[in-house]
Amino acid sequence: MPASVTRDVPVRPPRALTVVGVLGAAVILLPFVALVAGVDLTRLPRLLTSPAALDALGLSLRTSLTATAVCLVLGIPLALTLTRLEFPGRSVARSLVLLPLVVPPVVGGIALTEAFGRRGLVGEHLHVLGIEIAFTTTAVVMAQVFVSLPFLVVALEGSLQTRGEAHERTALSLGASPARTFRTVTLPLMAPGLLAGTVLTFARALGEFGATITFAGSMQGTTRTLPLQVYLERETDSEAAVALSLLLVVVALAVITLAYGRKRVTIS
């Protein structure tokens, strides 16, 4: 069979492209190598266990986990609506949902202030009701949800589209209710995208900086997450900033490994 013949030929990119590709990898990896090289290992334990660093780490983990949970609650229905429901302007809606991915986070922070700030579109009414969001941990979580929700939606849309609607159509035609079809067919179909998407959402929330500093402010234990702490440490103690940066890189690396490792297992 001709198919088996073509399968035997290994697919290789031109050698010159591989050389440029290695250069591309260096562009990404070299700064991280330098970061690791720049850490003073003898000072590292003390730098990472300062009260300010521990507060920032604790706050970052708490808020990122909360934001990820909120993203799951909102993101699964949103992805389903965008892929499984026919409505006018659907393609426009799908593009608009991606906006936080492409606008600079500081713009996101300004937009959030315009919406939920004390004089904002919604915030104005919340203020009358005695609800204040700015300068609270809630504001941090909102900023994180805003920037990371598209990651989850994109991952879920990918899963839903590659798997198609056939399985769900079968379940519905056999008399299963939409709710039961969602639980027993659609949700398992989403699983690979759900895992990878959740992990990436968490990672993006953990790294959120611009929208947080603009919308939530910066106060130890309340709003000063790890990236904000790194930014502030840089002012006086660049070594501490490097040490905290390394911590963020390690957490991010763990998260990516988890996402990619799992994804490969589930797909193959």
């Binding site: 031109p14 050698r15 010159a16 492209l17 440029v20 202030t113 700030g117 004390r118 004089r119 700015a134 300068f135 500093i213 603009t214 939530a216 402010g217 910066s218 106060m219 130890q220 709003t223 000063r224 904000l228 930014y231 502030l232 440490e233 840089r234 002012e235 006086t236 660049s238």
Partner: protein
């Protein structure tokens, strides 16, 4: 496939002389007859005043173009120590300039050229009815200030000590412009910023004069740098900032004389 490889190699070969061409260009600026581009690293609060001073200086020194790199003082000192090409450094406080001196980056002794004091600003309608620092320190008031790690935060701490008040800000920002932003957007009831920031903000804020403002005076030092590419024009620029014309521009922006 071979054609593509050749094209790539040609591209790589073509980009090599372009790179050397760049370095050759900057070396050419050293010739006395050629035009000089003076690079000034200036603290962010100096932006508007230094733009004007730069224009005045260029008018007085034909052939010299002044280029500014504006950022927080500690960012600037890190860039200078890391070898960024700069001729002059104007810092927003003495300790930051001292870091540059300690690293051997400064030529001669830095000279104080301006002072700045803190003031209290509120949104234009002053929703919390603040008339003093004590009002701003009261419970339930959203006061925003600079973090102690940055110069304006050090000044804030000194001001609080002099006033005998324990400030309880809802947010400690990394830069004074972030404090101002929180006030102009109406998020904060009050913010502690420099007088020059309040002057620049104009009608966007209401200013409350502080009784103990003079207790925390921030001094701005300026110096030509040891690695300056153009030492002569660098010294001339420092003299211009300290001279009558420079001081007048700074005074207009709200800075005090040292």
């Amino acid at each position: 496939m071979r054609a593509r490889t050749t094209a790539l190699l040609a591209l790589a070969a073509a980009s090599a002389p372009m790179m050397t061409g760049c370095t050759g260009g900057s070396a050419a600026q050293d010739t006395p007859a050629g035009d000089v581009t003076l690079t000034v690293f200036a603290a962010a609060s100096l932006t508007d005043a230094f733009e004007q001073i730069g224009e005045d200086f260029e008018a007085e020194h034909p052939g010299v173009t002044v280029r500014f790199n504006v950022a927080g003082s500690s960012d600037l000192v890190q860039q200078i120590i890391a070898g960024a090409p700069a001729d002059v450094f104007a810092s927003a406080d003495v300790p930051t300039m001292d870091r540059a001196v300690g690293a051997g980056a400064v030529s001669g002794a830095p000279r104080p050229f301006a002072t700045n004091v803190l003031t209290l600003v509120t949104p234009p309608d002053n929703p919390a009815g603040i008339t003093s620092l004590a009002d701003a320190a009261a419970e339930g008031v959203n006061l925003v200030a600079c973090a102690p790690q940055v110069p304006c935060g050090q000044a804030t701490a000194a001001l609080a000590r002099a006033s005998g008040l324990a400030l309880d800000p809802v947010s400690e920002e990394s830069s004074v412009t972030d404090v101002l932003g929180k006030v102009t957007s109406g998020e904060a009831d009050a913010g502690l910023v420099y007088v020059t920031d309040a002057t620049r903000a104009g009608d966007a804020v209401h200013t409350v004069d502080l009784e103990h403002a003079r207790s925390a005076v921030n001094t701005y030092p300026i110096a030509a740098l040891a690695e300056a590419e153009h030492p002569g024009p660098a010294d001339a620029f420092v003299e211009h900032v300290l001279g009558a014309q420079g001081q007048e521009v700074l005074g207009h922006a709200g800075f005090g004389h040292p």
